[in-house]
């Protein structure tokens, strides 16, 4: 069965959905029309550019190009996290966010490509780029949530953290419950999406493969594998973030840093 090409005219028809949204938003006086239009334009332009880039990259299929695109995606992910997370960010936490995304997603990606899928060569762009995108995108969300909850946890449970320090706890001991809660919150969306998958919704990767004529059974194999890869990638990146990031709140005298300390008596 040949894949139906949508083409520019019918593509424009798809934007009717946007008009519906805008009408509803206007009627309810939500006042977010500008944001919605900007988001849609950004989405369209980014995907068009990515389409051309991918067409070029798939044709060239060069190892350096694959690595360069991977780095570009990871840098954008770090940038997005730093923009989203409102933090009195200092260099330790910024470094933790960057290291976690770069190392966590790279390790998972290489394991997935080489061991799970068995791609040869490992940098085969047809596999490398889309899988990297899925792992990095989900890990980015996990790291954002983890960093937010970490900062929030230190603020709301400062007396508990400080109370542990007073009793001789190391910063890591004092932060244990804050770190555990941040980890649980960060991986929850990924776990939830696994629960509903196949019943509540059909995931994008599987849907795309079926639309392009791949057997549903093969598509399911890929979907299960990528979902496990995403779980692994999110868990690893968030773990690295929290292991490195919780130290950002303490100085070298194991005291809570001044920016998190209220004035004393």
């Amino acid at each position: 069965m040949d894949l139906i090409t949508i083409g520019p005219i019918r593509m424009i028809a798809a934007y009717v959905f946007l008009l519906v949204l805008l009408l509803i938003v206007q009627r309810l006086r939500i006042g977010r029309e500008k944001d919605i239009v900007i988001s849609t334009v950004r989405m369209s332009l980014q995907l068009v550019v990515m389409g051309y880039v991918l067409a070029y990259v798939l044709e060239i299929n060069h190892v350096l190009l694959s690595i360069a695109l991977l780095l570009l995606m990871q840098v954008f992910a770090v940038h997005n996290v730093l923009q989203r997370v409102k933090i009195p960010v200092d260099h330790v936490l910024v470094r933790a966010i960057a290291i976690s995304i770069l190392s966590g997603t790279t390790v998972t990606l290489l394991y997935f490509l080489v061991i799970v899928v068995g791609v040869q060569p490992w940098y085969e762009t047809q596999y490398f780029i889309p899988i990297a995108g899925m792992l990095i995108g989900n890990s980015m969300t996990g790291v954002s949530l983890g960093a937010e909850r970490l900062i929030d946890g230190v603020k709301t449970r400062k007396s508990q953290v400080e109370g542990a320090l007073m009793l001789g706890a190391t910063p890591s001991m004092a932060m244990r419950s804050v770190v555990s809660d941040a980890f649980a919150a960060a991986i929850l969306p990924t776990i939830n999406s696994m629960v509903g998958m196949g019943i509540v919704f059909l995931p994008g990767m599987m849907t795309g493969q079926i639309l392009s004529g791949v057997s549903p059974l093969t598509a399911i194999e890929y979907q299960i594998a990528i979902m496990l890869g995403i779980v692994g990638s999110v868990a690893l990146t968030v773990f690295i973030l929290l292991e490195l990031g919780h130290k950002a709140f303490f100085n070298d005298r194991a005291q809570i840093r001044e920016s998190f300390t209220d004035s004393n008596e």
Binding site: Q160, G163, M166, T170, S177, Q255, S263, N264
Partner: protein, 225 residues
């Protein structure tokens, strides 16, 4: 300088909150820090626990500057119990063991933990939760926790602020007795001169961030409120 010098503060300044030209807190004695709210008493205890660092001057413990101590090792010997007791999620047992766990000390038997609870007039079971404890009960549980740790120095920040007069009297007596019996140096912040007169070997009067005078008091002076 010898071990008897205990905690020694020299030309210590912390922001505009506290300035101490010279103060020595003796080891194995009960010292009370007396002063009004906002006079810098809590800051003094936080400096001694190295939870904050002085902007100027030096603080020594056992002849070593605090900055030369491993801060975690220091806090395992010089423990601070804050005025608002910190309750960790879990049971009474979990809360009693928290300090021992942090300081990597051995776990006592249940009967020893129960004995400490009884001594502080707490009738709860070790497996009870801490969510329903009153302010006064939480404060006494937090004191049980630090007593079980048997530190070298116990810094207590208004440890009886949530207790009624008779329980306050009893708890302070218990604390000072426990500390004397176990050779623990007790440094207690209080706003009450009556409490200080009842238990202190040394009373330090703080006013407006400065040490106004230090009195050596004969222990056992009759309690007056």
């Amino acid at each position: 300088m010898n071990e008897q010098n205990g905690l020694v503060l020299c030309d210590v300044k912390y922001r505009d909150i506290l300035q101490v030209d010279d103060l020595t807190i003796p080891l194995r004695a009960v010292t009370c820090i007396v002063g009004e709210s906002g006079s810098g008493k809590t800051t003094l205890l936080r400096l001694l626990n190295h939870l904050i660092s002085a902007d100027e001057g030096t603080i020594q413990y056992r002849d070593r500057c605090l900055k030369d101590w491993d801060p975690v090792q220091l806090r395992r010997q010089v423990i601070l119990a804050p005025q608002s007791p910190v309750m960790f999620p879990g049971t009474i047992r979990d809360n009693l063991l928290a300090g021992l766990h942090y300081a990597q000390l051995h776990t006592p038997e249940d009967k020893d933990m129960r004995k400490v609870l009884q001594r502080m007039r707490l009738s709860q079971d070790l497996s009870d939760g801490v969510d329903n404890l009153s302010g006064g009960e939480s404060q006494r549980l937090a004191l049980c926790r630090v007593i079980l740790m048997q530190p070298e120095v116990l810094l207590l920040d208004e440890p009886t602020s949530a207790l009624d007069d008779s329980t306050e009297h009893y708890v302070v007596e218990q604390l000072s007795e426990q500390c004397r019996r176990r050779d623990i140096t007790m440094v207690m912040v209080t706003h009450s001169q009556a409490i200080a007169r009842g238990v202190a070997d040394v009373t330090v009067f703080v006013h407006d961030g400065r040490i106004r005078r230090v009195e050596e008091v004969a222990a056992g002076t009759p309690w007056t409120s």
